[in-house]
Amino acid sequence: MTVDAMPLVIGALCVMAIFYRYYHGFIAAKVAVLDDTRKTPAYTMYDGQNYYPTNKWVLFGHHFAAITGAGPLIGPVLAAQFGVLPGYLWILIGVVLAGAVHDFIIFFASVRHGGKSLAEIARTQISPLSGFIASIAILFILVVALAGLGLAVVNALAESPWGVFTIGCTIPIALFMGLYMYRFRKGRIAEGTLIGVIFLMLAVIFGKDVANSSIAPYFTLPKAKITLFILLYGFVASILPVWMLLCPRDYLSAFMKIGTIAFLAIGIIVVNPELKMPLVTDYIHGGGPIIPGTLFPFAFITIACGAISGFHSLVASGTSPKMVSKESDIKTIGFVAMLIEGFIGILALIAATALHPGDYFAINVPPGVFEKLGISVVNLEQLSAEVGENLVGRTGGAVSLAVGMAQVFSSIPGMRHLMDYWYHFAIMFEALFILTTIDTGTRVARFMIQEFGGKLYKPFERVDNLPSAVISSALVSAAWGYFVFTGTISTIWPMFGTANQLLAGIALCVGTTFIISLGRVKYAWVTLVPMAFVMATTLSAGWMNITHNFLPLTKKEGFALQGYINTLLTALIMVCAVIILLDSFRCWYRMIFVEKRGIEVIKGEVASD
């Protein structure tokens, strides 16, 4: 049985609207008890620079741009192996009951803690140990996340001269934009961005000519070489001044993000594609060729960001709480931004499941494995010819998403003959996100390592110390590069999902502690239930990953080291989560039974008070 996209899109929007109106309204009114008479950090710590009251919609745009990345696009595509329904239902239920609640409560907690970060709130609310463990967990999770996203780009660009040329061009374009906006015509951000966008479009258009020219072999690179290039890019970009690459890329990505996502939504509504993937596949029982393992827990960790993402807790406790002008704004910003992210996840799922299952699996599974599945391709040859690429065995999710998106775009009247351009545009769009994430992530992880290193050798923590910057950047790049070199999407993505979801579990732990500390223990279930579910799924997934995937890998010739490292890292992240969980239990017990927190005494609200 197949379905059309439209009922799913409309259904999702209706569910989100109802939950926002009633359930999220309930949380805002009864659990958080948002109070507009209480001054936010934008007033209490006002400095006009970092802390200043900001219009709700400006802050909404800022917050939404910060939480949206490549995660909600790739995860649902990979989870499509379980069928349309599991992914759809988890995104929908997850986003309204867990993801949006998670983002809101951390945002709210941060506002009540003077705009402090997640680790600092953990330190204040639970204990210094939990704060320290949260920082360590964030570092490990970052490394795994960069590996997962890096691998998606590598697989999309391997043996693709058009793709390599286009994505390769984004680097000199960003460098040029940086020089233009910060050196040649200082402050001309709009001009620089416009030029950048035009060059980017030209890179997509002329990529076809390059792929068909005599210089194509220079851009036809195997996976190993692309991995090396991306590794070098991450290393160099994280050391370069931010104005050279990071800032200009940000401007490019901001334009691309809103434009492409809006266009995809309109495309799906206009085209209303039939979803060819069955509602549920046999892989729910395990044995899936993309993500090994059963529906529970693996579907829930594969779709990470679209349903709930731990990284959002870092954004929700970052710049946004410092700028919110009144507490009631947190409701719109915290909940709605995440609901839209979930909606983007649903669009990505629709784009991927609009492909015939045979074509979908042929793209997402290595050819040797696909042969054993006993499924036949339907349109793959035609699709390959239309996009001008060999689509067989392009694992990682990015390619099937790009094909799905290109299929939707080119089904719009008058666009049919542009399939190859749309495909490469979609690849460029995804890679633009991912390279920016690699740049930012490597830089942030580098700072964290410098901070930890500074505890052993003081000068190491100075971020302007070049040897320290080079050593720590090399360490971070080598760490995530190792996973890209040695891993497959089947090993890395579940690790990424587990790590991301565990971070969400940790944040929900902190959120629950905060609700109890407010004296509203009877409402703690709003975060406790999603926390229990997220912790249960991710800890079981982590355990199953170790016992079913990584430990058997240690017995395979040539893979022993990889198996041990994957086991160790997964175990470390799990241990971090368990320590915070146990520490939280201790804290909850103390607050409920020893301190008798039935009263509205608020711990750690010094800043707001």
């Binding site: 970092n50 900001t54 909600p72 960069l146 709009a190 940000d250 901001a254 870092l314 954004v315």
Partner: protein, 136 residues
């Protein structure tokens, strides 16, 4: 009697905590405060912060609406500026300039008119502009 509409000051400047598509990287956050390559952006942010404080000191919170915004927030900026130019009717050349972002950042748009383009104007300049266009 209609309530007097607030005067408007839009401070367009880059964020010193930028790090765009950061869903899976967590963002620069507090680390941007340490990164020396943010120095020039941070310096401008500090000046804008000072201007923000000075305007509030002079006019209070009720008479002037101050918005501090990143240039990439064009989806908000465009209609907002359109509304301002319709309300305050500055000259055509200024309208074109502000509507199509033909100004260097940082800039301060006072009642639809960009002043101090590419630099943070002094509080005196802002006060003068506010007084001349809004009779404050």
């Amino acid at each position: 009697m209609h309530p007097i509409k607030k005067a408007s000051v839009i401070i367009v400047r880059e964020s010193d905590a930028t790090g765009g598509c950061i869903c899976c990287a967590g963002g620069m956050g507090e680390f941007s405060r340490k990164d020396p390559s943010y120095d020039s952006i941070r310096k401008v942010a500090e000046e804008c912060g000072k201007l923000h404080r000075n305007i509030r000191e002079v006019f209070g919170e009720d008479r002037v609406e101050i918005i501090q915004i990143e240039p990439r927030a064009y989806m908000y900026l465009m209609p907002k500026i359109l509304k301002e130019v319709l309300r305050f009717k500055p000259s055509l050349s200024l309208v074109i300039r502000t509507l199509f972002f033909l100004y260097p950042v940082p800039t301060v748009i006072v009642n639809g008119k960009p002043i101090g383009m590419g630099r943070v104007p002094s509080i005196e300049e802002v006060v003068e502009e506010l007084k001349s266009t809004h009779s404050l």
